[in-house]
Structures are given as structure tokens and as C-alpha cells.
Amino acid sequence: MSVLVYTESLKGKFKKNAFEVASYAHKVAQDLGTTVTAVSFNAEDDASLGTYGASKVLKVSDDSLTTFNAKAYAEVLAEAAKAEDAKVIILSSSADSKFLAPILAAKLTAGYVPNVVAAPESTSPFVVKRTAFSNKGFAMTEISSDIKIVGVSNNAFGVVENNVSASVEDFGPSLGDDAFAVKSVEVDRVVGKATIADADIVVSGGRGLKGPENWGMVEELADVLGAATACSKPVSDMGWRPHSEHVGQTGKPVASNLYIAIGISGAIQHLAGINASKVKVVINNDPEAPFFKAADYGIVGDAFEVVPELIEKLKEFKAQNA
């Protein structure tokens, strides 16, 4: 009865969250006195999962699964869970994981808890800590079903090296046409740029930037830091930036290591969406902006002067620490 983990990859390369969920699974397996079995889809370097704690990799190689398909992937994972007699299944909090986890939960009549921020409080009973109320609170949640599914929050547990040697086995359950009734027609993904979901650093702009023409410096700052760009709700509502950049309670959640807010006042709905970030920096000309109460570091000043200066200082810092 190993701990099963779904490891995500894109074009053959594992995502960072694959290593994080494998690390988390290793911790749970240790607590339960068992080992970790990972399931990978068309990935190249399966044995690398051993570094983070997987003893076995069920390798799925199937051209029909090149593009993520929630139902088909969930069927494969359900078959893998049966083959391994897995009682605990670990996955991430990516859009794909959150899409397939409920399908898997229904198939296995399993309790599913997403947004988990730490290793289980206890494994008998099985209790995990998760965020609730859009990051305004935490809940200790017990999962009492025979099979348990845990969705780990990005950057919450971290990537841990455990250096296990992983055996790789081919795994290829047959899937009916029914598994592909929801078809991907076209994927439009930004390439070569950090995404809000998995970036270590997010740089975000608000109404204080006065107009879309002023986003050049936000993008430049993000470039220097290798960060993803984001924006507040009013900015996406006014069409200055695409919806996909909107972070906050009704937008994308952010759980980065560093979040830099420029010209964002810090409405409670915005803070809810970004609160899971570890370090928050605010740059705003209004010292009364509520964001200053939620931030770790702040500069009261004109963004149009502070941000270019910050870019210069970061470039100098990079040159010195290269």
C-alpha cells in the first residue's frame, strides 16, 4: 500500500511542483511506514523522481495523453491506485490537478482536501492543515475515507532531496473512447515566461500605474527578477491587462516566495488572493494604503521614480552576485 503521487510534466520535462509533491509524498510514506510510487505521463527523466523520494515510477507512454485530459488522466491514476493498493494519493494545486482530483475522488469514493500547507498533523486519524476562507483562515481537516487525496499548495512544503533509487515500470491501462469525450482543441500557453502558478516571484501592478502604457517598467522589473507579472482586479476589469493576470479572491491565487505590489492599495479581496505568498513588498505613494498593514517591506513613494531605481539596483546586485 504505497503512497501514490501524480507528477506533472510539460513536453517531457517535470514541473517543479512534481518534485514538491514527490517530496511531500515521501514524508507521508515515512509516517505510514511505506514507500512512494509516482505516476508520470510521457516524461523523459523518470528516474530523477527518486531524488525527491519516489521508489517506483509507473511510466505512462501514450500519444493520446500528450495533452492533459482530466478524465483520462484520472482513470489512469485510479487504475494505478488499485494496482498499488494506494490509500493516500498526493497531487499539486495546479489548474490541472484541481481539475482531475475531484474526478478521481468520485471514482474512488475518496475524501479530497486541496490547498494543504503542511505535512499531515497526524496520519491516524489522518488530519491535514489547509487554507480556507480565501487565505483568511486555516482549517484542520480530517479525512476519514479508506482512500485519501491530498492537494498540496504550491511552495508550501518545498522541494526536499531524499535520494531514493527509483525503479521505472511501464504502465498502460487501456482507456475507452469515453475517457476522451472532453477534447482539447487548442492550447494557448505563454512560453519562455514564468507563470503566476509556479513562479517564485510575482510582480503585480494596480490602478496607481495610471494606464496600460506604463506597464513596461513592471515587465522589466519582472524580467530582472525572473518573475511572473500580475495585476489587480480593477486593472483587468478596465482591460489594461488580460484576465489571466488578475490575482485576488476571484482571480488567480498567488503563493509565491516574493510578491511585489506596485500601485495596489490592498483591498481585502486582493489581499485574500495573495496572502499565501511568503514575503510581500508594497510600493505606493499613499502611506494610508491598507497594503502597508499586510506587507513585510514597503516604500512610500512615486512608483514612476521608485521602480526604475529598483530595476537599476537589482541589475547592479545581479552583476555583483552573478
Binding site: 483568511k136 479572491q249 516574493l258 514575503v279
Partner: protein, 248 residues
């Protein structure tokens, strides 16, 4: 086309969150409840299908009698009928099983729910519901067109979007993008008057499993004061982020 919109009754987005009874319950004292924002985008899209394509729109909520003002608001926005499953929503799996029963009895073609509720953030109800009913399912849906039995949807993915083709019957986990913020409707007096006359059918819950249980809640640790850096000394911020916060 017969559409069921699943609505959750949640604290207003500006609510302060507190817990009571030894931190085992959410403190509803002084809290305003609203239609879950992700559900409201779906409800508004359903109104479009009603007006442009002649769809019938029902709304459903799993909750006690205290959720009826929120259900009435959905009727005032324009839903034709409402159903309330008379049970406390114990967890996502429990709620999905209650909704599955409502769908079976109502023969719906399209079920629209929010991608998650902003209170417990489980995000599992639409996916479990679809799987229990063996219906197609698209999550984090930001665009939806229906033509006969064919559905074309766009879903938000990490770092982009994906166009999807599928068919009815279909369950949607919706969010902003299904309609824009500016498309949301504030009920007018006529809508509110008409809502009073519309059917709000209360049904009793079916036996259902509840695999998870929140045992205790806590609030995030209080934050220390912000460390201010002078606007004329931006280099200090770089120092602090490197040496103290260790994030660059």
C-alpha cells in the same frame, strides 16, 4: 435546453473572518451573505442562454432556511425556479451527492457551478457531481457556447488557456470570464417582486457519505509591522530582500 445553476451562500468578499465555539465553527455574527462570486458569473451566463437561446434556468442550493434570501436574489436576477436541499453542506462530496439527486430528478442538460466557493475553497463539487452522473466536465471555464448538443468552452490553465470541444450533458466549473464583471446584474424592483412569486421548492436530503470533517479553524498569525524603506534609498530594499528575507 434546461440549465441548473448551483449556488453557494457565502460570506461577502469584504467579510472579516472569525471563528467561534472553541474555533470549531465559522462565526456568522454580523456577516453578510451573498451568492458565491464564481457562481454569479455562471448564473449571469445562464441568463444569456435564457434570453438568446430560450433556455430554462433553475437554481439550486444545499443549505438551511437561512440561505433563502440568497436564493431569492438569484430568482430576482432572472432564474425561473429554485430548489433548496434542506441540509447543512457538510463537505464537498456530501453536497455533490445531494446535487446529483436533484439533477437526476430534473433532467438537466447543462449544470453550471462555480470553480470553487470563496468560503471553504474546496473546488470539488462540480467535478464530483459530473463524475457521479457520468457527464462531461470542464473546470475553470472562462467561455462557453452551446450549439444544439455541442459545447465549445475555454478553460484557464496555468500560463494560458485551452479551447475545448465537448457535448451535453455537461457540468461546468465556472469563473470570471464566463461573463465580465460589468455584465453582472443588480436585481431591479420588478425582478424582486417577481421573485416572490416564483417557486422555491424545498426538498429533503438523501443519505450521503461525508469523507472529510473540519475539526478546528485558526486565523493566520498576526503580522509584524511593515519595515519601511526610504524612497531615496531603494538599494536598502534589495539588501533586505537578499540578506534578511532571503528571497532574491
Amino acid at each position: 435546453m434546461k440549465i441548473l445553476v448551483c449556488i453557494s451562500n457565502v460570506p461577502d468578499t469584504t467579510s472579516k473572518i472569525n471563528f467561534t465555539e472553541g474555533d470549531t465553527q465559522f462565526d456568522t455574527n454580523g456577516v453578510q451573505f451573498v451568492i458565491n462570486p464564481n457562481d454569479e458569473f455562471g448564473l449571469t451566463r445562464a441568463m444569456w442562454f435564457k434570453e438568446k437561446q430560450g433556455a430554462t434556468v433553475h437554481v439550486v442550493n444545499v443549505g438551511g432556511a437561512q440561505t433563502e434570501p440568497t436564493i431569492r436574489k438569484a430568482l430576482a436576477i432572472g432564474a425561473d425556479e429554485a430548489i433548496r436541499v434542506n441540509a447543512e453542506p457538510k463537505d464537498g462530496f456530501f453536497v455533490a451527492q445531494q446535487l446529483a439527486e436533484v439533477v437526476k430528478n430534473g433532467e438537466y442538460d447543462l449544470i453550471i457551478a462555480g470553480r470553487e466557493s470563496i468560503d471553504y475553497n474546496g473546488g470539488m463539487v462540480p467535478g464530483i457531481l459530473a463524475t457521479l452522473l457520468d457527464m462531461n466536465f470542464v473546470n475553470t471555464c472562462i467561455s462557453l457556447e452551446i450549439d444544439g448538443d455541442t459545447a465549445t468552452a475555454v478553460r484557464e490553465i496555468d500560463g494560458g488557456k485551452e479551447k475545448i470541444s465537448t457535448s451535453l450533458p455537461l457540468v461546468i466549473g465556472g469563473q470570471k470570464g464566463l461573463v465580465e464583471e460589468s455584465d453582472l446584474r443588480i436585481p431591479n424592483m420588478r425582478g424582486i417582486m417577481m421573485a416572490r412569486k416564483k417557486a422555491l421548492n424545498v426538498v429533503e436530503p438523501v443519505d450521503a457519505t461525508q469523507p472529510t470533517q473540519d475539526q478546528k479553524f485558526e486565523k493566520p498569525a498576526a503580522k509584524g509591522p511593515v519595515k519601511l524603506v526610504d524612497a531615496g534609498n531603494v538599494g536598502e530594499l534589495v539588501e533586505l530582500l537578499h540578506n534578511e528575507a532571503k528571497v532574491i
